[in-house]
């Protein structure tokens, strides 16, 4: 499976692929481009300035060390399949510009019983955010841009 794409992610196709006769539960995690970042709750003290107010995003741009990111995502899938009894485990991350409300990452996991898919889904997004060499650039509505390099606790 190819895990990186420059095109919009077809979430419906991924879900359909995960709905096999062996599965009783499908869990989906989607990361989407959010319009507003508030200083208090969001990562990075330098994102919103000293005011701690709300900042508006116009879009996100994602870049990756593609060859390594593909491998690291494939490792996540292998590890999740080893830790949980899964039927399908599908991960796609979009690169380039991701407009507001569009999907940057889709994780779709199915299993016979729900507990496995729920646990794997959460572990996959947490671990993807720790390990996979993909970076997000905030493109603020005021025209400024900033790469996001979060501290571990901010992920």
């Amino acid at each position: 499976m190819i895990h990186l794409t420059d095109q919009p992610i077809d979430t419906t196709a991924l879900i359909d692929q995960a709905r096999t006769p062996e599965a009783g539960a499908v869990v989906v995690f989607l990361g989407i481009t959010r319009q507003f970042t508030s200083g208090s709750k969001d990562a990075g003290e330098d994102l919103t300035g000293a005011s701690g107010g709300v900042r508006e995003t116009s879009m996100l741009q994602y870049d990756a060390y593609r060859e390594m990111a593909e491998q690291e995502i494939a490792k996540l899938v292998t590890e999740a399949n080893r830790r949980w009894s899964l039927v399908e485990c599908l991960i796609v991350h979009r690169l380039g510009t991701v407009p507001l409300t569009e999907v940057s990452v889709a994780i779709v996991v199915s299993s016979a019983h729900r507990r496995a898919a729920l646990a794997a889904g959460e572990w996959l997004i947490d671990t993807l955010k720790e390990r996979v060499p993909i970076w997000k650039k905030e493109c603020w509505a005021d025209g400024q841009t900033a790469w996001v390099h979060p501290l571990p606790k901010e992920r």
Partner: protein
Amino acid sequence: MKVTVKLFAAVRDIVDQCEVMLELEDHATLEMLRAKMSEKYPPLRPLLPQTLFAVNAQYVPDSTPLEENSDIAMIPPVSGG
């Protein structure tokens, strides 16, 4: 020996290149490469302590010895998802 270092995200913007070639002593480690980058590009210093290295597209510890033509990448804190 010569090594090539791929750069990404803020590191790439600061250095203003997608990759750099560096001359290091033979059997230099990533620790020494990190020091060299710090010396050559002072604006990188705030990011360097949190930046990991990959060799041949795999995360490796700073103690890893490098070889001529090692395919190295600097991985500043990631923010996918």
